[in-house]
């Protein structure tokens, strides 16, 4: 029984092997010595989407690829590259999908117009109610 349990546990642990054995990239979990640059890197990493854990930012994700992307972001920031340029470089490769920052492209118009539409609907409702409430 115990042997069986151990065998089952080992079989269940197999996915742990389906990952890289190499050490993490140098800057993946290390802060840049310059606090201003680190702040820039952090801000950007929070707005880049992880390709593996697709609901997370690369700052939050534990995936190897996210670690390598954090390394890439910090390295480029340390080399003096602007965050907008790094984001642009990634968008060229993965599309706007990679960035959490909303863009002005047509697909995002409903996002920008929704608050305006909701305000207009609210104003219309209020006007309607107020008029109904008036003594005739």
């Amino acid at each position: 029984m115990r042997t069986l349990a151990i065998i089952i546990a080992l079989l269940l642990a197999a996915p742990a092997l389906a990952d890289s054995n190499t050490p993490a990239a140098y800057w993946s979990d290390r802060q840049l010595p310059n606090p201003k640059q680190e702040a820039e890197a952090q801000a950007l990493m929070n707005e880049l989407r992880c390709l593996v854990c697709q609901g997370q930012s690369i700052a939050d994700s534990d995936a190897d690829l996210a670690a390598d992307m954090r390394d890439l972001v910090r390295r480029r920031i340390a080399a003096g590259e602007k965050p907008a340029s790094i984001r642009g470089w990634l968008v060229q490769r993965y599309g706007t999908w990679i960035s959490y920052k909303p863009t002005a492209e047509p697909a995002a118009w409903p996002l920008w117009l929704a608050p305006l539409a909701l305000l207009l609907i609210g104003a219309f409702l209020i006007r309607h109610r107020v008029r109904v409430g008036k003594p005739s």
Binding site: N21, D71, R93
Partner: protein, 175 residues
């Protein structure tokens, strides 16, 4: 309140549930395609993955003939089944180069010794930099690069036996 209005919340709930059930039954495609399809391979230089095999640099790809650039790793399970198909492609005269992601020379050597070696060159991409530069988001992935070094097709996931005719067709188109 009219009857129709009274039932509106229920109707909305049913619609919402139907939508959720539909999305659960047919999950959205989570693959992220590279935007570099149709564009030149970005310039890169990689160290050799193995001491006895030439490395892969972007300059090697504009070779006048279409090639497959396969992004793989010894720790990647689907890569095991894919290698067999790559061997068959190689037997049909297809040129295949490899990029080993986050891998160690001894592991790559073991992997190739056990599963077969379809690669003409293998570069080692220890920090996924070339993988990211290519717009690839995982292993395995394959790019068909034409003779001028332009990316013509990206295959996400392992190339299966049943994908062979399609891959051979894409290679033919890239000539």
């Amino acid at each position: 309140m009219s009857r129709a209005v009274r039932f509106a919340p229920l109707a909305i709930l049913v619609l919402l549930l139907a939508g959720l059930v539909w999305r659960l039954a047919t999950p959205a495609d989570t693959n992220v395609a590279s935007k570099l399809d149709g564009k030149p391979v970005p310039a890169f230089v990689l160290p050799a993955a193995l001491p006895n095999k030439p490395t892969l640099n972007s300059a090697d790809l504009a070779s006048g003939q279409p090639r497959i650039v396969n992004i793989f790793a010894s720790w990647c399970v689907p890569c095991i089944t894919e290698v067999k198909v790559l061997q068959e492609l190689k037997a049909r005269g297809v040129h295949i180069d490899g990029i080993a992601v986050r891998d160690r020379p001894e592991d790559i050597a073991d992997f190739l010794a056990q599963r077969g070696d379809p690669y003409e060159r293998i570069g080692s991409d220890a920090q996924s930099r070339v993988q990211i530069a290519l717009g690839s988001s995982g292993v395995p992935e394959s790019f068909i690069v034409d003779g001028k070094g332009i990316i013509r097709y990206q295959h996400i996931g392992p190339i299966a036996e049943t994908d062979m005719p399609m891959i051979l067709g894409r290679l033919e188109q890239a000539k």
